[in-house]
Symmetry: C2
Subunit: 350 residues, 2 copies
């Protein structure tokens, strides 16, 4: 029989950040598709939409009126999943029915007053303002004694459940550390204890040397399709310097973060020449007062599209009951993303 070749043969890959495995089936991208096609609404929106509850000057569902903001605008989510005033309490029936009250805060961050923009169409300086808001919010929320984890994220596009197309992100901050960052805490701590360096420092060194999965690099950040990527065009954005959270970034690093976010999201939009849907978010050290020296701040991008603007990857039956599975290799995805133009397709279209 031929030798094992990960570009051709089905295999499992290990995610050292989560400690879990995924299944890769490189040969499978040829199967026929009679299933769901996404709608690709021609993405034409007005700069201001009088019915949008995120546009400047508009009234929200709870009667609050948005200011005539010019950069970013942050407010408490009117329909937050996490609220501060939850009476403490817990339930435990035989160790099998277990619940605990959970308190927290939900915030909404409008990235721009312009209803018709998204990150890749914004100027780097405007994205830098978003980075500054993330830093402010992480600092303020995280300093509260009842907030031990701050999850900053963006759901972009209808395919990712965004309930409004106005460019915005969210923050869910809470008392306990959620499952995914808790796994990363354990895995990073174990690695750091053994090697004295952060897991992502060593991982980046390998990726920068191999280059096969690198999508973008600037002076301070690297974007790769991680070796263990689950979503077809999933990426991981990592600072070259080992910092635990975004408050530690220097001014130059903050600019570099804005720059690489713009570059990455432009590549994404250029992939299928649509406003590319994804969920993305920051993973940083818990704000529980511990040092978490092993934590290495990073961002995940999870885009659902697979073959075209209309065919998505479904994480369903096998994936829900077994483990995640992907059809194209991370190396193939990185190669495709890397080869895309650096200029947004709307700019080059006449």
């Amino acid at each position: 029989m031929a030798e094992f070749n990960s570009a051709e043969h089905s295999h499992r890959r290990y995610n050292p950040l989560s400690g879990e495995w995924i299944l890769v089936s490189p040969h499978r991208s040829k199967r026929p598709w009679q299933g769901q096609q996404e709608k690709t609404a021609a993405d034409v929106r007005p700069a201001y939409d009088p019915t949008c509850y995120l546009c400047p000057g508009n009234t929200r569902a709870n009667g609050a009126v948005n200011p005539a903001y010019e950069g970013t605008f942050v407010f408490d989510n009117d329909f937050a999943a996490l609220v501060p005033d939850v009476p403490a309490g817990s339930i435990n029936v035989g160790g099998l029915l277990r619940a605990e009250a959970e308190s927290g805060v939900g915030r909404v961050i409008c990235f721009s007053p312009r209803h018709d923009l998204t990150l890749p169409e914004m100027a780097t300086s405007a994205i830098r303002r978003v980075v500054d808001v993330w830093i402010d919010e992480y600092t303020t929320l995280g300093s509260h004694p009842d907030i031990n984890y701050v999850q900053i994220f963006e759901n972009k596009g209808q395919a990712m459940g965004a309930s409004n197309p106005h460019p915005h992100g969210q923050i869910w901050a809470q008392r306990t550390v959620p499952v995914e960052p808790a796994k990363e805490t354990v895995q990073q701590a174990a690695y750091f204890a053994e090697h004295g360096r952060s897991l992502l420092t060593d991982y980046l060194a390998i990726e920068v040397k191999e280059q096969t999965r690198v999508v973008l690099e600037n002076e301070h950040f690297v974007v790769v399709v991680p070796y263990w990527a689950v979503w077809p065009f999933e990426t991981l954005l990592v600072p070259r310097r080992h910092v635990q959270d975004i408050t530690q970034l220097t001014d130059a690093e903050k600019d570099a973060l804005a720059d690489i976010l713009r570059q990455l999201t432009i590549r994404y939009d250029n992939l299928f020449e649509i406003s590319f849907p994804y969920s993305a978010g920051l993973h940083q050290r818990p704000t529980d007062g511990q040092a978490h020296e092993s934590w290495h701040f990073h961002m995940h991008f999870f885009p659902p599209l697979l073959r075209s603007a209309t065919v998505r990857k479904f994480m369903v039956g096998y994936e829900m009951l077994g483990n995640p599975q992907r059809d194209v290799t991370p190396e193939f995805a990185a190669e495709r993303l890397r080869s895309l133009p650096a200029v947004h397709y709307k700019q080059t279209a006449k």
Copy 2:
């Protein structure tokens, strides 16, 4: 402040089968929705579709011709994610790039020759034939020395990525135990070691006593919305008797399984009076030759719909980066499912 009330206040619940937590936000079902609405294609299909590669007598993509089958029909998936002939091999770069060849088999099970049916519209005797196929396949595949886990599942509906509406399920069987059943193996073994009874035996006893989350019961099976349900109308189907896999079921239990599958899927279709999408699957002991005495066979149903036939629950930003989150309580969902008619809505429509 009021006392903690899990029907009102946000809280976390613990899943003892996986060892992970989920966030429950009972107050959140009121948020406005300007996001994606599912298409609800009026589900009218011919009994036979000449273009369907699963209908009897039709030719598949690889040239094979389906027999004129009358009950069920099982064949090797023409585009399987897992294939038997993978050369052994592995990769390990610094413990950070790790891969292993993975072999296995993909099977497709047509539930019925009728293109226009689904489980809830089939006779109990026809569903019983599907149960028998599951038993046969689990036995045959599982006896192969290179197959240590057999995942039987169904993706139903476009919303769950089903690539063809013909009623069918799949089997992915493989060398290693996937992540989810591996977690359940650890959790069930720990519980059994401590209590000398299976985790699900003790859990069922609590649920049958409390009744709040019970959706259906027959002599041999119970369906509950589990205390830790993630999806809005998620259910767990459990045999009253502690068996490790379906091959151990008695004839009466097999009939009872067919009966409760029919009853459950009828309730699902009746919920929004549509052909209700879900991914469902069996979790059974690994076929690695070990006894796995602690394993208690069960089925999970993961349906994506939340408020109506057109509004689904998205497991996106926070859920991908933090942990699963739900908006309505499991108790509310159970109450809704329980109150639905036992007769399929298409039968009662004139």
